[in-house]
């Protein structure tokens, strides 16, 4: 809410003004999961801190929301909110993208009461197993994408999405 323009915001305003307009077109498909390259150098690597504590994770996927700050190119959108489904398998943290591989709706864990241990897409009843594998016979043709994950100081950090490596 502060009215001051920080140095970083100022940088991003100016940079977005020049290169950002063109870049936003090219980045469109990745925008929801990538920070703008212009801003990356100051955010440690490509990882974003989430409010999720490692300790509190279980084998049940939970929704983790995180925000990519300072995007200024879309109409009313300054921060990009993002979501992942995150669970633990032993000591590894697994984070899956909620974007349905059929046509891109947002999937929910346990969204279909008849299949409470699967991800469910409300748009055309697509389903996925816990590891993201698409259930044959439902519209999606591929598994859910996976996020790069790291844990630091007890918190989960999420990076870029990549094709599912678990299936």
């Amino acid at each position: 809410m502060s009215k001051k323009v920080s140095r970083r915001q100022f940088m991003s305003y100016t940079l977005m003004g020049v290169g950002g307009f063109m870049a936003s077109g090219m980045l469109m498909p990745m925008v929801r999961f990538a920070i703008d390259p212009v801003l990356q150098k100051k955010d440690e690597g490509d990882y974003i801190l989430t409010p999720q504590k490692f300790d509190e994770l279980t084998e049940m996927p939970v929704r983790v929301d995180f925000t990519i700050k300072d995007r200024k190119d879309a109409w009313y959108k300054s921060d990009v909110s993002n979501t992942a489904w995150v669970y633990r398998e032993g000591d590894t943290v697994i984070a899956l993208s909620p974007v349905c591989k059929h046509l891109g709706c947002t999937v929910n864990w346990g969204g279909d009461e008849n299949h409470s241990d699967q991800f469910f897409c409300p748009c055309h009843a697509g389903r996925y197993m816990k590891n993201g594998e698409n259930v044959k016979g439902t519209p999606p043709l591929g598994p859910l994408d996976e996020f790069d994950v790291k844990v630091e100081d007890g918190f989960v950090y999420l990076g870029k999405t990549k094709p599912n490596t678990l299936v």
Binding site: M28, R32, L103
Partner: protein
Amino acid sequence: MNWTAQDMDTYLQQIEYIDTLIVPLLKVETTPGDMKRSASSSEFLMHLTMFIETQFKGRMMLMPPFAYTTSTDLTEMAATLSRDLSVAPFKHVFFLTTDSAWTSIKVDGEVIWLPSIPLENMDPQLRKTIIEDQLRQALPRFMEKWSEQ
């Protein structure tokens, strides 16, 4: 899907799956005393429709908002919209607005009216929660239409 050339390509290939059209109706007020509130509801409507679009990208096409000023004849606007939108091959049409005037106007499709909530001073997390709550209000309307097949 958004009203962009890229999403439109996907739409044209997947017409049978993307059967729902979302039309934001946006009242723009121009008297100085009402402008802040008007801007705030416009922000609310944009946030909400964008959020709905990300949730249901594969089933809905989000149109650009139709904006009108205070003395616009809504009955006439409704008639024009109904006529022109009926050409588009969507099975379901939903009009989303914060202007309660639309609740008493006849238009082809469903009007979903939601009271505007000022989001401008909220932190992103709270804003997200509020927007989600609002979607939850509207959700049964979508589901009802979708299950009517």
